[in-house]
């Protein structure tokens, strides 16, 4: 069997692993250490790992385009990429200069739109206000730019993850 080579971004740090499937688990090569891992999957989205005698219950949660792994009280934001498609992918918001989508972080209703198309916005300037659970929440531009598109108007219902505006 060919070991799997992957790169994982964990809490913003990129890590390289090789994973080789074995009976009852796998052998991982991480940071030049060879780590045998005993694996049990009690239910979908939950993995019990025993590594060198230490036991970890790892729970996956996917929210919008983000994935976290919780181990006890600790939560890690992770993003797994295969090696070939690594470059140019999963760029973090605000990191580059391309067009950037502002998405609703929760379902709700558009209370106000604070900009108009063509406006220049500063980083962290409010763009759209969403109301949900009795609270108003201002979604901000992650970096400076120009409002290329405005896809919602006051009063619109929006779904979680829906694109509200595009900054370029």
């Amino acid at each position: 069997m060919t070991p799997l080579l992957v790169e994982v971004e964990v809490d913003g740090v990129m890590r390289r692993l090789s994973v080789d499937r074995q009976e009852n688990g796998c052998v991982v090569l991480l940071d030049e250490r060879t780590i045998p891992v005993d694996i049990y999957e009690p239910m979908p989205g939950v993995l019990s790992l025993v590594i060198g005698g230490r036991s970890y219950r790892c729970v996956r949660s996917a929210m919008m385009d983000e994935e976290t792994i919780a181990v006890g009280a600790r939560q890690y934001r992770v993003a797994v990429t295969d090696r070939r498609s690594l470059r140019g992918q999963r760029k973090r918001p605000g990191a580059g200069n391309g067009a950037l989508q502002i998405k609703a972080s929760m379902p709700g209703r558009v209370a106000r739109v604070l900009v108009t198309q063509g406006d220049t916005v500063r980083a962290h300037q409010g763009v759209v206000v969403i109301e949900a659970m009795k609270m108003q929440n201002e979604l901000k531009a992650p970096r400076e730019g120009r409002v290329k598109e405005l896809r919602v108007a006051a009063g619109d219902k929006v779904a979680s993850g829906q694109v509200l505006a595009v900054i370029e």
């Binding site: 692993l17 790992l49 970890y56 729970v59 009280a73 600790r74 797994v80 295969d82 972080s105 659970m133």
Partner: protein, 505 residues
């Protein structure tokens, strides 16, 4: 009054389920009402009867007093329990229940009015010889009156809305220059929020603790206090963690606060459960803050340390039964802490995080009580308060209760939405919280500091390694379970597909 046979629960979420359980335990049939967003909610599933109120917004559903009364009449309910929030402090609704011959499980409308207005309650506090913050006992009528009063009691002062709650219409004023414009702004805000622009002025207490007394009063004039709760861990005047007893209240202070609260209840002709809130300063002076004329969210911690069931007693009181114990028979034992689990993201400015709960693993074991309002698969609606559940720990002492609650949070898994569990864990780990060095601005101070990184907490990277490996195994399911779909040899190409499938699920 005969025993109640059927109670309509005019609420939703965890409190509806908690009330429903109490009804069942007493052999009373619980009736649920629900909005369109709540047809699948736990309280509907577990009720004996369930009736639709209307569309999701509260104003069209849980605030529809007329619909609720009509349903109560039609289904033959002989009482309504309003829970907290919604109609629970609405005197007109209490009156309408009484007029319809339906028992309102709560105080008489008159007592609710007397204590519901903060200015009237302050006047009642004076009659009950209860310490309060220096300041007005009626609404301010002019900026001149405000300036004179403020000078008299000394800056800093607080402007507050008489009908207020939740921090609206509230302003801290540190000098006379700020006062006139703040008065106008506060009054405007209060008028918009509560339909009354009445504001009053009181001395600002620096770094106060929020400590409140739980009361029970029956229809026969018996009033008792069941110790205090400390609720100093707040954000924007919303309680986050509550505990009983308060780590700073001794027997003597408890007795003085409790007796003052009982005097106020007697003064107002109060019946049923209520809470008298106080601010306590660093010198252990206590000042009357306001009265909540209903069951509190945080009532569970009092139940655990006193051994009583407040909802059972609310119902008994409504049935006309005398309190089953005297003040002398009430003893506190052990320590209880409650955390409010919210669907919100503390790391993004506390944005609400409604949505589908894709995984729910609840803690259990000794000393753990959960008053839950959600289940795995439930879609948390956007229309209501984002509280999912109350997680409560009881232990012989405060340190053990904190440790126990922390462990329960570590066990708790809520997947698919963001919650404040990690923040709650951080508070419980905080040395200041553990040493009870808290006041109402404690949480703001904690939040101003940056949260410790995962690696700082442990000092080793083994847990991060496990998370890293788990992330890969989740993304490539074949790696996790050799006996599942991918029994073919482990191949690079198949795995690339596995990775994408895993990420995009």
């Amino acid at each position: 009054m005969p025993s109640l046979r059927k109670i309509l629960i005019a609420n939703r979420g965890e409190i509806a389920l908690r009330l429903l359980r109490a009804c069942r335990e007493l052999g009373i049939s619980p009736v649920a009402v629900y909005s369109d967003a709540d047809r699948g909610a736990l309280h509907v599933q577990h009720a004996d009867e369930a009736y639709r109120l209307g569309p999701a917004p509260s104003i069209d559903s849980y605030l529809r007093a007329d619909r609720i009364l009509e349903i109560a009449r039609k289904c033959g309910a002989d009482a309504i329990h309003p829970g907290y929030g919604f109609l629970s402090e609405n005197a007109e609704f209490a009156e309408a229940c009484t007029a319809a011959g339906i028992t309102f499980i709560g105080p008489p409308a008159s007592a609710m009015r007397e204590l519901g207005s903060k200015t009237r309650a302050r006047a009642a506090a004076d009659r009950a010889r209860m310490p309060r913050t220096p300041g007005s006992v009626r609404g301010l009528t002019s900026p001149e009156e405000a300036l004179t009063l403020a000078k008299e009691i000394g800056y800093p002062v607080m402007l507050k809305a008489a009908a207020g709650g939740g921090g609206k219409g509230m302003r801290a004023i540190r000098s006379s220059e700020e006062l006139p414009s703040a008065l106008i702004a506060a009054s405007d805000e209060a008028a918009r929020a509560f339909g009354s622009g009445e504001v009053y002025l009181e001395k600002l207490i620096e770094r106060p603790r929020h400590i409140e007394i739980q009361l029970l009063a029956d229809q026969h004039g018996n009033v008792v206090y069941l110790g205090e709760r400390e609720c100093s861990v707040q954000r924007r005047h919303q309680k986050v963690i509550e505990e009983a007893p308060s780590p700073v209240v001794g027997a003597e202070l408890r007795r003085r606060m409790g007796e003052a609260a009982c005097r106020l209840a007697r003064e107002a002709g109060y019946v049923n459960a209520s809470t008298v809130e106080f601010l306590v300063d660093e010198a252990q002076n206590f000042y009357f803050l306001e009265v909540n004329t209903r069951l509190q969210v945080e009532h569970a911690v009092s139940e655990l340390v006193t051994g009583v069931d407040l909802v059972h007693l609310q119902i008994a009181i409504a049935e006309g039964k005398p309190l089953p114990f005297t003040q002398e028979e009430i003893a506190l034992r052990g320590h209880a802490l409650e955390v409010r689990v919210y669907a919100e993201d503390p790391e993004s400015g506390f944005l609400p995080s409604p949505g589908k709960i894709t995984r729910l693993l609840r803690p259990g074991g000794p000393g753990i009580r959960e008053d839950e309002g959600v289940y795995e698969g439930w879609d948390v609606p956007t229309e209501y308060d984002p509280m999912l559940s109350k997680l409560i720990a009881y232990a012989p002492d405060r340190a053990t209760a904190i440790a126990r609650l922390g462990c329960a949070i570590d066990e708790y898994v809520i997947g698919g939405i963001r919650t404040n569990l990690k923040l709650l864990r951080r508070i419980l780990n905080d040395p200041d919280f553990q040493a009870a060095r808290i006041d109402t601005s404690y949480l703001d101070r904690l939040l101003a500091k940056s949260a410790p990184e995962n690696t700082e907490v442990t000092g080793d990277t083994a847990i991060a390694d496990a998370a890293t490996i788990a992330a890969v195994l989740f993304a490539a399911p074949a790696a996790a379970s050799p006996t599942s779909q991918a029994q073919t040899p482990w191949q690079q190409d198949a795995l690339q597909r596995g990775l994408h499938g895993g990420l995009r699920r």
